[in-house]
Subunit: 361 residues, 2 copies
Amino acid sequence: MQRRRFLTLAGAGGALLSAPVVAQEAPTINWRMPSSFPRSLDTVWGAAEYLTERVSVLTDGKFTIRPFSAGELVPPLQVLDAVQNGTTECGHTAGFYYLGKEPALVFDTGVPFGLTPRQHTAWLLHGGGGALMDDLYARFNALSIPCGNTGAQMGGWFRKEIKSIDDLKGLRIRTPGLLSMVYEKLGAIPQQVAGSDIYPSLEKGALDAVEFVGPYDDEKLGFSKVASYYYGPGVLELGASLSLTINQDSWAKLPPRYQEALRAACATAADDLLAKYDANNIVALKRLVGQGVKLKAWPPEVMHAMQSATKQVLEDYAAKSPSFAKILASWRAFRADQLLWNSVNDGAAENYLMATRENGL
Amino acid sequence: MQRRRFLTLAGAGGALLSAPVVAQEAPTINWRMPSSFPRSLDTVWGAAEYLTERVSVLTDGKFTIRPFSAGELVPPLQVLDAVQNGTTECGHTAGFYYLGKEPALVFDTGVPFGLTPRQHTAWLLHGGGGALMDDLYARFNALSIPCGNTGAQMGGWFRKEIKSIDDLKGLRIRTPGLLSMVYEKLGAIPQQVAGSDIYPSLEKGALDAVEFVGPYDDEKLGFSKVASYYYGPGVLELGASLSLTINQDSWAKLPPRYQEALRAACATAADDLLAKYDANNIVALKRLVGQGVKLKAWPPEVMHAMQSATKQVLEDYAAKSPSFAKILASWRAFRADQLLWNSVNDGAAENYLMATRENGL
């Protein structure tokens, strides 16, 4: 098992040996970082700002990165293009937005019924996933450093109760990327609706449902007033790993310690992002339930159908693309092992704690 | 909710503003870092070395930290003392080893039936835990930065099957700290046995059981040859968070970017440590089971008894120490919220995936 190869550029032996040769002078470097995310997603956006602050502190202010929120500099779903073309040195985005360019980029973010944030990190760092992602991003003259995972996202807000898979048929749901293909296979009619248009679309009935993020972000958009059923658990999105996507030429020009500063700042910001979501989501959820939101768990039949549809979507892509098939094989084998380990140890222990929550410590 | 206060020293506003004033010259600083852990625990020890390498890369080799394995410089369970006294600038250890000095230090590492690695990070960063730990370590002229969590450890190796709590009575088990108090309440007779003496003690029957780490580390010590029952899940240790413990005076002398380098390197090393354990534990477990190890889940009755005993141990401490009681109250409230959130979303989703492992993606 290997760490990401691009990181070995700044790895232990190499960089320690080469450090005296390069970068005795700390160059002043200023980058721009367009984000796919708006400021209103304050946890995600906050982590992007926090990341740039950490880099500045680590380099005594010599390496600065200016973040731009969605659309300020480039359209939100063209951040990878900007990085690829060198319009900007880096970007704050998520691989799965570029499914249309390269379906396998979804593995850098997350796949329905996929890996938890912890398992995703393990796959990248010690499961061979990092090297596969390096190869993939290299086709876009880029590399990707994980800089925050949202954790499982909720299933979303529905105007009507979902009692069986029949209730999904014809359902107009706002949901992105791979999730929309899963819903499509189940007879729903996925819609592309910008964040600011979701509420009015639900209110006037142009939308039946919306999958957004989780309680903390969802609460602010007021969905509960126009769609009273809130579904979990987040089997369709066990995690979404955000990416600091970096132009390879810009990366190569950095002294090793600036490369390491980027990577380390991403690790720090990622810890902070998930911690903030975990601390805040439950507080928001309790408020929402207190306001009368009907918190529901998907019926098992619906989850089974979603799982089968996901499998089909993945196999369709694998049949069309050998590189997708190769990554899927690695990811699948790692996932199977991690599910087994989880069912023996960590996951089984958590289950016991959840089951005895009421009479716990 | 606040981040750890000591970290705000190098925090966004402050450090960015003050950066031009301090540390334009990068000083050469050499620290020593005794560890409580031996080289044979290569994942834990490897992360300690990796951490020092990251710091060196981040500072162009100007800030070096020399790691010493258990006993090389100071006795393994006196690392905190060495840091407190300024014998060394920092140490690589775990708070729960110093239970005898200050019981509340267990909250920096982990408590039976406690927080997962992810929940622990959330408590420290956004649940008020960090500030409480800062206050606690300040009494030892120190501060603690988390630098790796093992994830849930296995219940351990037993020479005989554990069918009920009666089978724990009189059981001579090698287990440390708070776990030994839990076992004691259940009638077992915890033993302090050095790592190298465990195998012969089990072999000749001086020990009936041993709790060590997990499959990857346990396999190397060959316990399966002398104790064929391997118990999980790891309810007694959902995680053990290791600590880079730093002398406050040494910390205060560092320029902000070196402080940030320490923190960032810890985040990077922590990611790597848990990923390595997750990737390797399941591979080792499969080998062990293939060799005939009897993998067993604790009977629910036994877990219930362990949980009640843990509650009693915590309440005994809280009754004796107001500061323990204060930390317990924060930790308990956060834990309750996280269990609720987990049971609604992430944990429930993982459960579905574990339950459908055989017919999954």
